[in-house]
């Protein structure tokens, strides 16, 4: 197991290097740079823009720019955001807690809902309750996040006034107090539900189908023949087997937590990494953009690894060495 994980980790290095080349090339292929938007004839001298381009090294040949970036990057020096003029790590650090909270809240809601709904549907398939849940799930699957977000805001913020429509915390609270935490949870709830909608729907259906499939298997018939109570069959025998695919999703969800939700965060004006990523693209803030992309790629690889390892943990038959 350890050996396997170690091998996989080593294999990541060339992959990340290749990714870095792609990320860099794509970023630089975007027409324009961080200074193209800065046109203010009253205050900006064309000479200033030239000087800044020189200073930022945009006029150097591409390979030179790449090696400068990658060597700094590997030393943990991510550069300075061209938009905020502070180190990239600081910019990301400011947004990361928000994104983590949103991601964890969303995953918690997703798994909880999916678990209960899937369990119920799988156990009582083709009943009214199952069909109701199925119907809701298909709505959840087919409504894109940007529509769901707008509707959620309209209904729960503007009409019912239950949740705030924007921001991550109310203004005027002291950090770390109980009210502050409650306010944060209050702010994160609506975007988290919207963000988890799609995943909830698909996980529910996965779980349901798996339970139904398992309930027709031989070992279930044997258990029934032995006279094991129905409850025990479902909650112990079947659940253990059916939960496997769900657990492996956890690995991929790690990426989802960090990468945030570009659309959801933008709609809810929630200052997290997704929003930051989008803004960095439109302002050509290369250092932030490239660091974020590299971070996401790295986490995707780690997430994959975790998913594979979890597979082995929950199902000894597919343990790899």
């Amino acid at each position: 197991m350890l050996k396997y994980a170690f091998r996989r980790l080593l294999g990541m290095i060339p992959m990340l290097l290749l990714t870095s080349i792609v990320v860099f090339t794509l970023a630089k292929l975007m027409p324009g740079d961080s200074l193209t938007g800065e046109i203010d004839p009253r205050n900006t001298n064309p000479k200033y823009i030239q000087e800044m381009r020189d200073k930022l090294g945009y006029n150097d040949p591409m390979p030179k720019q790449y090696f400068r970036w990658i060597s700094n990057f590997s030393e943990g020096e991510f550069g300075k955001s061209t938009r905020f003029k502070i180190p990239v790590s600081e910019v990301i650090g400011e947004r990361l807690p928000n994104t983590l909270l949103l991601g964890f809240a969303s995953i918690l809601i997703t798994y909880m809902l999916a678990f209960f709904m899937g369990l119920y549907s799988g156990r009582k398939p083709y009943t009214l309750g199952d069909n109701l849940i199925g119907g809701l799930n298909y709505i959840g699957l087919s409504v894109p996040a940007f529509i769901a977000g707008v509707f959620a805001i309209f209904l729960f913020s503007f009409k019912l006034d239950w949740f705030p429509s924007n921001g991550s915390v109310a203004i005027g609270l002291t950090d770390g107090t109980f009210e502050w935490w409650m306010s944060r949870l209050h702010h994160v709830f609506l975007p988290a539900v919207v963000l988890g909608l799609l995943a909830t729907a698909s996980y529910t259906q996965f779980l349901r189908n798996d339970i139904i499939e398992n309930s027709r298997k031989d070992y279930v018939r044997t258990a029934r023949a032995k006279g094991t109570p129905e409850k025990k069959i479902y909650n112990v025998h079947i659940l253990r087997n059916s939960i496997i695919p769900l657990i492996t999703f956890l690995g991929f969800d790690i990426v989802a937590i960090i990468s945030g939700a570009i659309i959801t965060e933008t709609i809810f004006t929630y200052p997290g990494l997704g929003q930051l990523f989008l803004q960095s693209v439109s302002t050509r803030d290369y250092p932030v953009l490239m660091t974020l992309t590299m971070m996401f790629s790295f986490l995707t690889l780690v997430g994959n690894l975790i998913a594979d390892i979890l597979y082995g943990v929950v199902d000894p038959r597919i343990r790899l060495d």
Binding site: R42, T44, I86, I153, F154, W162, S165, S168, G172
Partner: protein, 572 residues
Amino acid sequence: MKKKSIVMLAALMLVLSAFLAACSSGEKAGTKEKEKEGTKSGETAEKPQDGGTLTYSLDSAPEGKYNFAFYGTAVDAEVMEFFDENLIKFDDKLQAQPHIASWKTTDNKVYDFEIKKGVKWHNGDELSVKDWEFALKVVADKDYEGPRFENVVNIDGAQAYHDGKAKEITGIKVVDDYNIQITFDKARVNNLENLWTYPMNRTEFKGIAVKDMMSSAQVRTKPVGLGPFKVVKVVPGESVEMERFDDYFDGKPHIEKVNLKVIDPSLTVGELKNDTLDMTSFHPSIIDQVSALPNVNAVKYPGVSYYYVGFKLGNWDGKKNVADEPKYQDLKLREAMYYAINREEWVKAFFFGVGKPVNRPIPTNHWIAADNKDLEQFNYDPEKAKQLLDEAGYKDVDGDGFREDPKGKKFVVNFSHYATSNPTFETRAKALTQYWEAVGLKSKLTMTDANLYYDMLEKSDKSMEVFFGGWSTGSDPDPTPLWSSKALWNYPRWVNADSDKLLDQAIDMSVVGTDLDKRKDLYVQWQKLFMKELPALPIAELEETMAVNKRVQGVTFDVSGKNRPNVWWIKQ
């Protein structure tokens, strides 16, 4: 057992969410009730009341460079307006007026400034001209990375200081804490308008190297200013919390607290309606929805921006403009394209009642704007357009319904417009091309991403032979940076000796002196020339729009923007 715990969990979740909902709705209901009472008592007493919280929204995340010397975006400036102060101000005719500082000059070269005594910074320091000197030196420093050196470079010796050849700026002489003399390298009409007049608190920035200032806490999270409100807390990218600054030099503000937060523009109407937002600027496209709200005033106030359709007449050779593009050199063609546009109809359709057609490259509200009766009107007249095209030799020879150029070759107007997420841009650009097609000019529209638009214009991209553009002019009326033949921003690359001469004369001390009428007269002549030559077709000018909740009182607007927030108050 298991089932029970599941039910318990679900119940717990429900309780939790209900609790969350309850704690918010209770709080909000409370404030609403208060407001209701407030309107009642407010109607009887029209005297400003103290107290209350103003919620002001920003439509995109600020960069967080909260110091005038370092900021780069309009959003940051909106935040700074609340907590910092310019030493001079501009009146409704955009003329510089004494504010904290007053000045005397006899020759527009040497200025003696005197600042008010007893003006306090938020940290309790008294404002001294040394703070101003400090700011000027920061901006002139070789390590300074902001874009404002332009506003200091004209001070005598600033360039030498910037290049590291001098230890002091020779043009700055501090007399005492309240008096300072600034000498420019030469006399100019607009030396004062272009001077950097924002001081920086020198004790706050003590010990911070200039190159580190932009990322320092003094700029980003704990800014100290002179304005009516002081910053309490900054949540980066999300909100800024401010409270009243009791020692504000121009009178104690009425409003107790100001909360600025970033709200996505799509939420503006809903937030305004719910009274959770008091003030915000908004895009004209939602003006109907905002005006329909009973609790909000949709305010329009004169702006200083205008839009134009430019023709690529030449190229930028790195130092100056060269008129070397032949396609649109024919004045009759340009005139015909102007006559072909129904600006009344177009502006009504795409500017939502907040714009009007404009006839000159200067917004109407600017004091140098020429009277319409002095200028050619170019009203919509497609027949005249066709006639002009016929005269110029643009005729349909191959019978496809579109005109060919005088040599009989295919003629296509390659028009481009910038694209953002705003859906009206493409239709309004399309509408323009349809006007031209209606008089027989085949047109092709290219929408270009707004970030690249001006960059591609600079490089004379082929799809941009005719282009849509806009400028917002500042308080200094001088159009030289936009339209002189040496200006990079002169995108049509218009080269005209008379224009350059007029523009030079209008800021030449020996010609106009301090006589505003004389200066205006030269600008009027320049506008006439512009409208005769038509290097660009001025299309429309736009008013600024702002939503203000009716409980917020005392807010006034003019061409220079909002009045200072210390006189605003909230009905309670």
